[in-house]
């Protein structure tokens, strides 16, 4: 059980976590559940958090790991779907269809292009560019070396530019 002070500090990052969760799940109700699960895990394991280290990075790390856990689970389930075609819009936590489940609609080309990026590229851009996290923190969240983060950012932007060009042509 987390103490009140830890809870208060952790909840300061709820908006950033929620934004990240929406871009990962592409579905606000899913994002709700993902953020809630993230906080419950964080509170349950608050004794493992080392004061003085970056709480924000720790929370993002939990959120991403939680997402990947469910994402992989869903990936396995969809892999054995009857038609053999993975359906990435199947909700992670809910049984509702995407239409009823409030799937997020993209309003801009930039948002649309971001959605088409692979998760590791999307995550690295969201953390480094949108949240303004130092590369060291991004590396911690993604559990990879800083060099890998740099190269992922480079490749993610390259891919993003290509997608944006395609949208402009259309």
């Amino acid at each position: 059980m987390a103490d009140t002070d830890f809870q208060r500090q952790a909840l300061q990052h709820i908006d950033a976590l929620y934004n990240f969760a929406v871009y990962l799940t592409r579905n606000p109700p899913e994002a709700d559940d993902l953020v809630q699960e993230t906080y419950l895990r964080a509170f349950r394991f608050s004794h493992r958090f080392q004061p003085g280290t970056h709480l924000r990075a720790w929370l993002f790390q939990i959120l991403r790991n939680t997402f990947l856990t469910f994402y992989r689970l869903r990936e396995r389930e969809t892999a054995i779907a009857e038609d053999g075609v993975p359906d990435w819009d199947v909700p992670m936590f809910h049984d509702t269809s995407t239409d009823e489940g409030g799937a997020l609609e993209a309003h801009t080309d930039l948002e649309r292009a971001m959605r088409r990026l692979p998760e590791e590229f999307r995550t690295v851009l969201l953390l480094a560019e949108v949240e303004g996290m130092p590369l060291e923190e991004v590396a911690r969240v993604m559990a990879c070396p800083v060099g890998t983060v740099k190269s992922r950012i480079f490749r993610a932007k390259e891919r993003l530019r290509g997608l944006l060009k395609d949208y402009e042509k259309k």
Binding site: N19, A31, Q36, T108, A128, E129
Partner: protein, 235 residues
């Protein structure tokens, strides 16, 4: 962000991402539900951990003590001896007699070794042929075993032991045979055993003839052995 790979295009794209990408704010109810859930966590009952620890300790003790725990023996003394007799029969079935003797030639030596004298001995006939006779040691007693094989290949062991006081033949499991005899019929480990007393000697005739047809023949074998044998305690 400091990045040596970053060029003017990269910087512009980074700024664009930070400024143009819509930001989603957490709904107020989400914050409330998180605080609620944190304040009322699903707690384990306080007694669960000690209970699991106690159960684990008990299980570990049982596992540790299994080798030294006494084996479960039948409460009935007759059944205990029957089990030992069946074990001896099984041993003979697999590896034969350890000190095979021929009847009646080996009788003096067998009597000397076992303390059981056969005034009359069954040395086989047209249905049962003698395999061997040998001394045995069962339930802490010396005894005499005589093995026969019938025409169908069944091994039939006739085992004699001194009858202890506790060896009481109850009326249960008795079977009337030939109008003259009423031995007990005991079953153990897939074998059948006729049990009877002759004077101070407890007698057992054991075989694997468990089916109904075989049992009828086994009754006949019992009569053949019973009428032709007269065991007594020699000393």
């Amino acid at each position: 962000m400091s990045d040596e790979l970053r060029g003017p295009d990269d910087e512009a794209l980074g700024r664009r991402l930070a400024s143009e990408l819509p930001r989603y704010t957490a709904p107020a109810r989400l914050r409330v539900s998180i605080v609620d859930a944190a304040d009322h966590p699903a707690r384990r009952p306080v007694w669960l951990a000690p209970l699991i620890a106690a159960a684990a300790t008990a299980l570990a003790l049982v596992l540790f003590l299994i080798p030294v725990l006494p084996r479960i023996e039948p409460a009935d003394p007759v059944q205990q001896v029957v089990r030992a007799v069946v074990n001896e029969h099984s041993r003979a079935l697999m590896w034969g007699a350890r000190q095979p003797q021929i009847l009646p030639a080996g009788l003096p030596w067998l009597t000397q070794e076992t303390g059981i004298d056969l005034r009359r001995a069954f040395a086989g006939d047209d249905r049962l042929s003698l395999v061997a006779a040998e001394p045995v040691y069962l339930t802490r007693q010396r005894g005499l075993a005589v093995h026969y094989r019938d025409v169908d290949g069944h091994l039939v062991s006739y085992i004699m032991l001194p009858a202890e006081r506790s060896f009481a033949m109850s009326e249960r499991d008795r079977v009337q045979i030939d109008g003259r005899f009423k031995p007990m019929l005991k079953r153990d480990s897939g074998f059948v055993t006729w049990v009877w007393k002759q004077g101070d000697v407890a007698c057992f005739l054991v075989s694997d003839m468990v089916s109904q047809d075989d049992l009828e023949r086994f009754k006949d074998y019992f009569v053949r052995v019973r009428v032709a044998t007269e065991p007594t305690i020699a000393y």
